[in-house]
């Protein structure tokens, strides 16, 4: 079976973005939603800036019981999944439950709940051995986070393949890529797929502090995320979720669905180099891009927009720029490239899906979101990064990429289904 797969619904929770309209308004205005951390006192930490989401679970329709049992990242995923299903207009009851699946990505999963739990169990870090008298029944759910896709499956009534993809910072691309594979091969007809992460908690802030991966622009939080800028000094940690409804193309057409895009190609490679380091040449990401373009039967020169990983670390932005040049040749210089992390930060495993959402909205509006905070040139980053201001631009084909710890490099090509020669 080799079926074509389209995206027909989306739900987004990102910094400054309760839903897709607000998300697009923020991106197209070039506004940033990064701020000094408010969830805890960040003053002991090296990096004190983050992209926080103002999220009220009760207002989002979650019951007190759901709020008690679900980690924050799960709450995001469930809310985004509901929104995606509503946005797609799909009648899930028209499908056999076992033909509906879920693929959810997350890098650090229930980190928030784990840390809260740890503080209680260890008497704020004083004890090593933990008493077992008053264990929360949810502790196990936080250690083994596959309850996250399970909650989404219960929400949408999925009884087909349910997966949690946890590839670190490419999880949000890889989970959607996985969903595409399952529909293509015929294991499911509808997939609710996306990713979530809520890592703004002391242990995660501290572990990125330790390797100096995050920014130190603590005095200027709104301008702290500076992808491709000569003064960039690390990424801005963020939280968020984006979830999509994916369907087989012909079924979507039959029900007259609004189609955001077809997932024309997806590929992942590993650099087998270093758990956190990147070689400057971008070879493996370039290979993933070439493979994804090949599957989509898209020439480099048909790529209208590159939604970059653009994390704002010194090494990433150089690595990625090289990968675009290797894979697209001269076209890399002629097609707009931008990083929305400049506005919403880097939500680890979620961000790949958040960036797919941004790519779909760019296609819907024929507007390329900008790279905010881009003012100082870096000779290693010499492409057209759409600095600071969104640009009207015919956008029929988008390349979106991700890069993460463990060496994962992923690329996805989004196309208009009517434009692709089948």
């Amino acid at each position: 079976m080799n079926r074509r797969v389209v995206i027909t619904g989306m739900g987004v929770r990102a910094p400054g973005s309760p839903g897709k309209e607000a998300f697009w308004e923020l991106l197209s205005a070039g506004r940033t939603a990064t701020r000094r951390i408010t969830f805890f006192d960040p003053s002991p930490y090296r990096s004190q800036v983050a992209g926080e989401v103002d999220f009220d679970p009760a207002a989002e329709g979650l019951t007190p019981r759901q709020v008690r049992r679900m980690d924050r990242a799960t709450q995001f995923a469930v809310v985004a999944a509901r929104e995606a299903v509503a946005d797609s207009g799909i009648d899930l009851s028209a499908h056999a439950p076992h033909r509906i699946g879920v693929s959810l990505g997350s890098a650090v999963a229930a980190a928030t709940s784990l840390e809260q739990e740890y503080l209680v169990l260890s008497d704020s870090g004083r004890d090593w051995v933990m008493g077992t008298d008053h264990l929360s029944p949810h502790m196990y759910d936080h250690m083994v986070p596959s309850i996250m896709p399970a909650e989404v499956a219960w929400t949408v009534g999925a009884e087909g393949p349910v997966a949690m993809v946890s590839d670190g910072c490419t999880s949000g691309l890889d989970s959607v890529g996985h969903a595409v594979a399952l529909i293509r091969e015929g294991s499911a007809d509808v997939m609710v797929a996306g990713a979530t992460d809520t890592p703004i908690t002391p242990i995660v802030v501290a572990c990125f502090d330790a390797i100096k991966a995050t920014t130190t622009y603590n005095d200027d939080p709104e301008h702290a995320s500076r992808p491709f800028d000569g003064t960039r000094n690390g990424f801005v940690l963020a939280e968020g979720a984006a979830v999509f409804v994916l369907e087989e193309l012909e079924a979507a057409r039959r029900r007259g669905a609004r189609i955001y895009a077809e997932v024309g190609g997806f590929a992942t490679r590993c650099n087998a180099y270093h758990m956190t380091g990147l070689k400057a040449d971008g070879r493996e990401m370039a290979e993933a891009i070439r493979s994804a373009l090949g599957q989509a039967r898209v020439d480099a020169s048909q790529v209208d927009y590159i939604n970059a990983h653009g994390s704002g670390t010194k090494q990433n932005d150089r690595h990625e720029t090289a990968a675009f040049k290797v894979s697209l040749g001269d076209w890399a210089y002629r097609t707009p490239v931008s990083s929305i992390k400049s506005m919403v930060g880097h939500s680890l495993g979620a961000v790949g899906s958040v960036e797919i959402a941004a790519s779909l909205l760019a296609m819907a509006h024929h507007v390329v979101p900008p790279t905010a905070n881009l003012r100082v040139e870096d000779p290693n980053c010499d492409l057209d990064y759409v600095p600071n201001t969104a640009r009207e631009h015919r956008t029929d084909t988008v390349l979106t990429v991700g890069s993460g710890f463990g060496g994962f490099q992923s690329a996805m090509v989004l196309v208009r289904p009517d434009r692709r020669t089948a």
């Binding site: 076992h98 596959s146 393949p161 349910v162 946890s166 242990i203 463990g406």
Partner: protein, 404 residues
């Protein structure tokens, strides 16, 4: 189609496939009293423990940056590659993939870093914490250690994830990658991990290692958690034949499905998952020679599994076994380790018994292999795994004539 050409086992009852298989047949158990910290106040202390000196098996550079679970995964990976007698230099780097399942990440490692953060301050947190903890760590470290740059993935589905990794690896081979390292390894027996296991509410409180975990028994009272697992080498059959590889069997079928929401009143997904996996393999129920059961060890779950098996195979329609009573349940490692046992059953035409279980309720309708190994022709085996919250996965492995 894809074939298994190498087995790497790090199980509580054996390092390497030979030792593990001998233990599975002889009833040598890896269940012991948890002694890595003072667990004397804990209501349960039995677990399947891997007693390996990882310090002697890995370079010190890797020891400093890895949790025990990742060390075991690296050892299992090396063991599987050695068993496959494969020279990776014969492959181009994008032709090698890694798919692992994981359930608890680098839990012991991260517990230590939480402790440092909260007792000493953020500047004491390890530079390795950011990547020793997360669920992709085993895939990433295996990829780096062996120069594998092809399509790779990490999956989480509690106890079912390991079989999903085999299913995904098969998909990867089908998509044109000639060799994939796949499987799962887990460990979380630091004090916090142990408390979390107990918080799950299903761990047996029986203090006798011989009876604490006895699935399908009238007195089944929970499971024992274990650590370790298995990684294996999955290859494109043509590539394996071209290099003259020994083939343990093929992954002939795979399926997964999810149980309905708890209060829906709809039937569980295990039966359908089994049927889909058999259909995927092109196998009729009557052609299945043995089932390696999930065997949770709680009466409700045991009954549900027995009912699914009876529905597909008929009452006492197929031999069923659960060698995992000797290792405990290994989270992501469980399905792959059972797959190793299934492949060895195929090699040697013998089914390992379910040690510990004595009296199976008649209404289960199971032909559970008890007491001692059972000689039987085994060409096709079904391996089942269920993950908490509703995950069901099934793999069909089948004999392949070497050289054909």
């Amino acid at each position: 189609m894809s074939v298994i050409t190498g087995l790497g086992v790090v199980a509580p009852n054996g390092f390497g496939v030979k030792e593990f298989w001998a233990a599975a047949l002889a009833g040598r158990s890896g269940i012991g009293v948890l002694d890595r910290f003072d667990a004397s106040a804990s209501p349960a202390r039995l677990a399947g423990l891997v007693r390996l000196e990882t310090e002697r098996l890995l370079p010190s550079r890797l020891l400093t940056q890895t949790d025990l679970s990742t060390r075991l995964a690296l050892i299992a990976g090396e063991c599987a590659l050695e068993d496959a007698e494969v020279d990776l230099a014969d492959f181009t780097d994008y032709d090698l993939g890694v798919v692992t399942a994981n359930a608890s990440g680098g839990f012991d490692f991260t517990h230590r870093e939480f402790k440092k953060l909260w007792s000493r301050g953020p500047e004491h947190v390890s530079v390795y914490e950011s990547f020793a903890w997360f669920y992709a760590v085993n895939t990433g470290q295996l990829s780096i250690r062996h120069g594998m740059r092809g399509p790779s993935l990490a999956l989480v589905a509690e106890q079912a994830g390991g079989l999903d990794a085999l299913g995904q690896a098969r998909r990867t081979v089908r998509d044109g990658v000639p060799l994939v390292v796949c499987g799962g390894v887990d460990s979380a027996f630091d004090p916090w991990g142990w408390a979390s296991h107990l918080a799950g509410g299903r761990v047996s409180l029986d203090p006798d290692p011989a009876t604490a975990y006895r699935p399908f028994d009238v007195r089944a009272c929970g499971y024992l958690p274990g650590e370790g697992g298995a990684l294996m080498i999955l290859e494109d059959p043509a590539a394996a034949a071209a290099r003259g590889a020994r083939v343990y069997g093929e992954v002939a079928g795979y399926a997964c499905g999810f149980d309905p929401a708890p209060d829906s009143g709809r039937p569980p997904a295990l039966r359908r998952t089994i049927e889909l996996a058999l259909a995927d393999a092109g196998v009729e129920p009557g052609q299945v020679d043995v089932v390696f059961a999930d065997a949770l060890g709680l009466p409700d779950a045991d009954l549900a599994e027995a009912q699914a098996l009876c529905a597909v195979f008929g009452e006492r329609g197929v031999p069923v076994t659960a060698p995992k009573t000797l290792t405990g349940r290994l989270l992501s490692g469980g399905g792959p380790l059972d797959t190793v046992a299934a492949l060895m059953s195929i090699q040697e035409d013998v089914v390992p018994p379910t040690f510990g279980t004595a009296v199976v309720p008649g209404e289960y309708g199971l032909d559970l292999v008890l007491g001692e190994p059972r000689r039987a022709r085994v060409d096709t085996a079904l391996v089942l795994a269920r993950g908490r919250w509703g995950f069901n996965s099934a793999v069909v492995v089948r004999a392949v004539q070497n050289g054909s």
